[in-house]
């Protein structure tokens, strides 16, 4: 068996460019690795091997013709809620299993143009709703470090595949931590770009004012490469920002000398796993040794973030998911009249957590409750945004844990959704404020589960994430450690 699957995107591009391997070789290595691991992991919902190989052949032909697009021939896995023309896009839901995308998301179109081979649909919590990947209608994905544990969510399949090296890199989406938290749980790099940095066109909406497409990768450099290709204004998304995209590869080469990094205690919530706290504290200390100045910043409103998040996100979700009525697409259940058609389709198609959030969102928008919930949550949102503004007046980036715990056992929090929601405390403030965040591996617990360090940058300040993340990564070897699944080294 070839060892091509072990490569990062940067390394694979170098091999493809030098002619040391072909895109078909890379896809074949990936398919073999998936076969060796996915029985245990269930990271993939599907992978059309013939289509992936056909795309790889086209990429190889392009290269033979002198093309040198930045991701030419690189296989990229896609979280199952991002539209790729001709591929399924079930969003992890039973309701959308018969659906095939008639169009490419803008981010996907840009990857195609850059030569990427779009292969595989990655497992996820239904419509992005969940933090453990246990809410997938296809059954959960498992953590490659310990398959009795969750991989995190909602981009759990993407994180598990990258960590187990059955994917070189994957697209995810992050509404309240859905990229960063599974990256932390699985020991890979997770990037949530700023709101408006990557077009949301083609990303099935969970909460429109919070959703962003991002990547799960083996290195910070790979995250920078992916963003470079996908970022930038899109006329099809009114909320995408028309700003120049900086050179991320150049930005991450700068060392940390003179940087001010904020380290707010507000993220160290009650009940945080001491192993997680130790690993994060050690990582912050490491950054100081690398030349950064660590300063204390106050974030008084972080404690309200989870409550505000679950009001805003579910309110938006309750309308975003209203379109799934079985009339135009999806797993339609006849009911006699149009009202019953929608009702039966939704009753049969949506899982428990999705129904819970739709009901919650419908409630908070109801006449008489709007001011008390939705409006108040929006006020909390602006207070949190202000907290960050004041913090970024004093520092260049903020460091924090990604989650209060490492990956927990399957089923541990399934019966107590509120407990599950509280695990999002470190990540949701970033979405509420529209900022960017990066999760990088920073250690392990005493039970050998990975821990992530969250680097938070100001809106449109991804260069800072890559700079801090890359410099820290180069100085440590956490990212090189791989789980022992599927007979890996």
């Amino acid at each position: 068996m070839s060892d091509l699957h072990l490569l990062t995107v940067t390394e694979l591009v170098a091999r493809l460019t030098s002619g040391a391997c072909s895109s078909v070789d890379a896809v074949q290595a990936l398919i073999a690795r998936k076969q060796a691991t996915d029985g245990e992991l269930h990271a993939y919902i599907s992978l059309d091997e013939a289509d992936a190989l056909a795309q790889a052949q086209v990429a190889d032909a392009r290269r033979a013709g002198g093309d040198s697009a930045p991701l030419l021939g690189v296989p990229v896995g896609v979280k199952d809620l991002i539209n790729v023309k001709g591929q399924p896009c079930s969003c992890g839901s039973k309701l959308l299993r018969p659906y095939t995308s008639p169009y490419d998301a803008t981010a996907v179109a840009r990857l195609r143009e850059a030569g990427a081979v779009l292969c595989g649909r990655l497992n996820m919590d239904e419509f992005g709703m969940g933090s453990s990947n246990e809410n997938s209608s296809y059954g959960p994905a498992y953590n490659p470090w310990d398959t009795a544990r969750v991989p995190g969510g909602s981009s759990g399949g993407s994180a598990a595949a990258v960590a187990a090296e059955s994917a070189f890199v994957c697209l995810g989406s992050d509404t309240g931590g859905s990229i960063r938290q599974p990256a932390s749980f699985c020991g890979c790099v997770g990037l949530k770009p700023s709101y408006g940095r990557i077009s949301r066109f083609g990303l099935t909406a969970y909460a429109s004012s919070l959703d962003q497409i991002g990547s799960l990768s083996k290195s910070v450099a790979d995250a920078a490469t992916m963003l470079q290709v996908m970022a930038g204004w899109d006329e099809r998304d009114s909320t995408s920002l028309d700003l120049e995209v900086p050179d991320y590869a150049a930005a991450m080469q700068q060392d940390l000398t003179g940087l001010k990094l904020g380290f707010p205690q507000a993220f160290f919530v009650e009940g945080i796993d001491p192993d997680v706290a130790d690993a994060v504290n050690a990582a912050v200390e490491h950054c100081r040794e690398l030349g950064a100045e660590i300063i204390d910043v106050q974030m008084p409103h972080i404690k309200y973030a989870v409550a505000a998040y679950y009001v805003v996100a579910t309110a938006e979700a309750s309308t975003n998911l209203a379109r799934f009525d079985g009339v135009r697409y999806g797993d339609r259940r006849e009911g006699g009249n149009p009202e019953q058609l929608a009702s039966c389709t939704r009753a049969a198609g949506f899982g428990m957590e999705v129904k819970r959030r739709i009901i919650l969102g419908t409630y908070v928008l109801s006449s008489g409750y709007y001011d008390a919930y939705y409006l108040r949550a929006q006020k909390v949102r602006s207070l949190i945004r202000k907290d960050f503004e004041q913090a970024f007046a004093q520092c260049d980036a903020i460091l924090s844990p990604v989650a209060p715990t490492a990956a927990y056992p399957q089923g541990a929090k399934l019966a107590d959704p509120l407990q599950m929601y509280l695990g999002d405390i470190c990540t949701v403030p970033v979405n509420l404020a529209g900022l960017c965040g990066l999760s990088v591996p920073c250690g392990f617990t005493s039970e050998d589960m990975p821990v992530g360090l969250q680097i938070i940058g100001p809106a449109m300040g991804e260069e800072m994430l890559f700079r801090v993340g890359h410099q820290y990564e180069q100085a440590t070897d956490w990212h090189t450690r791989r789980p022992g699944i599927g007979g890996a080294a």
Partner: protein, 476 residues
């Protein structure tokens, strides 16, 4: 119980804007295409698709607002209005809830010589929905219409009778046609109306319970439905009954309204700002630029026809009623230089033929050039009245050059030097009638004119002959 009950009426009129493309996507708004051919992931509400606001829709709404004397909101936004219905792809409609594009304004009407202003509450911009069709076995939805930009124009409860409602709609249509913001074609559903009405004792401070008649698509229907509904409410109240707040449907054939659903079960629409769209921010400069490009409104045009062209008030009113007709009139006057004769042809022959054939001006072959040609032919007395009417019908139906038609159809009247000897001959041969006319029997002149026409084989101009005879015989 004796009481004088008076109605209060408010209208919500949905007007489709005549933009080329839909409000959130590039799909065509063309009417009458095969079902579901003008659709895309955006207007079908596919997962991941996002709306992007069509700026032309904003511009046309602002034009409407300015023409209707509204205040333009420099900052407005779009909201989601949630309810499940198969013709609505996203199961929420993107509309404007608390910050519409236009506020206030009004429309002036006149009923039985009484002038009145119907105040507007607001105009907001939203999306149209698809169309349901029910068959014997099952239903179909056509989403071609879904996403067509729609203005909702809401009046204050200022309307006091079915006639005022009718006059308001006619005036509104006229203004919107002048603004070229909508096709205003009722058959194609360009204008649809929700009618709110209630009755209360005259002089009462509070309004009665209102009912709503939904989705009326003819002005006559609004008038008839309202007349019936007001009668029904008065009868109900006088009989000691109560009016339920409800939605009613107008049955055109039966000539009555019937209950559709009671308002108690009305939806909670759960409005909230649409996170997919940025607020609409306009500058005073942008609004002023649109204001500077506004077309002349019918009232101003009518005044100008009276003062500058010397037309009677009545003629001016008829000419401006339809913008296409008024534009055509002006173009014809520009070529022919004779406003009164142009006006006569338009008010007479044109209106008659349009009515008879049940067509619009645009459907005919008539051009300003051809009508101006006819005006000049007629002024030069080269054709008589009968001939002019025949030529008009030809250029109306088939187009062509009036002069050439006159030649081919043998309608050119004879020149004066051919007719003069004929007049002399008739005076010589008919001394009796000549004497009668001279002694004051005016009717005798008609006989003499007829004789000249006979001798000319119909090719004399009867008016000219009549004048010449009268002059020669010294009659009055």
């Amino acid at each position: 119980m004796k009481q004088d009950l008076v109605p209060t009426v408010g209208l919500e009129t949905h007007v489709q804007l005549n933009t080329q493309s839909k409000i959130w996507c590039a799909c065509s708004t063309a009417f009458g295409c095969p079902p579901n051919t003008n659709v895309c992931p955006v207007c079908l509400g596919y997962p991941g698709a996002l709306p992007v606001l069509n700026e032309e829709a904003i511009r046309k709404t602002v034009i409407s607002g300015l023409l209707l004397e509204c205040e333009i909101n420099l900052r407005s936004k779009h909201d989601r209005k949630s309810y499940f219905y198969p013709d609505m792809p996203k199961n929420y409609q993107i509309t404007q809830f608390d910050q519409p594009l236009c506020l206030g304004g009004g429309v002036d009407i006149e009923v039985d010589g009484v002038k009145k202003r119907i105040r507007l509450n607001r105009i907001h911009l939203e999306e149209d929905v698809g169309k349901n069709t029910h068959y014997d076995h099952g239903s179909g939805v056509d989403y071609n219409r879904a996403g067509t930009p729609l203005m909702e124009i809401v009046t204050e409860p200022d309307i006091a009778s079915p006639e005022e409602a009718f006059a308001y709609l006619v005036a509104l249509k006229q203004i919107l046609s002048y603004g070229d913001v909508s096709g205003c074609n009722l058959e194609q559903g360009n204008m649809r109306c929700d009618v709110n009405s209630s009755v209360a004792p005259r002089g009462s401070d509070t309004l009665g319970v209102k009912t709503e008649i939904k989705n009326m698509n003819t002005f006559k229907g609004v008038r008839d439905a309202l007349a019936h509904e007001i009668k029904r409410q008065i009868r109900e109240v006088k009989g000691g009954g109560v009016i339920r707040q409800e939605t009613r449907r107008w049955d055109d054939l039966a000539g009555q309204t019937a209950s559709m659903r009671a308002k108690e079960y009305a939806h909670d629409y759960r409005y909230f700002p649409d996170p997919d769209l940025m607020p609409i921010v306009l500058t005073t400069e942008q609004v002023d630029a649109i204001r500077a490009s506004l077309p002349e409104l019918p009232a101003a045009r009518r005044a100008r026809y009276v003062s500058d062209l010397g037309l009677p008030e009545y003629d001016a009113g008829v000419l401006v009623a339809d913008k296409a007709v008024a534009d055509f009139f002006e173009a014809t006057v520009d070529i022919s230089g004779d406003a009164k004769t142009c006006s006569n042809f338009i008010m007479g022959e044109l209106m008659r033929l349009l009515n008879e054939r049940e067509v619009e001006l645009v459907d005919t072959k008539l051009t300003p050039e051809s009508l101006a040609g006819l005006v000049m032919l007629s002024n030069a007395k080269k054709v008589n009245n009968q001939g002019a009417k025949a030529i008009f019908e030809k250029i109306f139906d088939q187009g062509g050059d009036p002069e050439a038609i006159a030649q081919v159809e043998d309608l050119v009247v004879e020149a004066e030097d051919v007719i003069a000897p004929l007049i002399e001959q008739v005076i010589q041969e008919h001394s009796g009638p000549v004497a009668d006319f001279k002694s004051g029997k005016a009717a005798a002149l008609q006989f003499l004119v007829g004789q000249v026409m006979r001798l000319s084989r119909g090719k004399a101009n009867p008016q000219a002959v009549s004048e010449e005879l009268a002059r020669k015989l010294g009659g009055k």
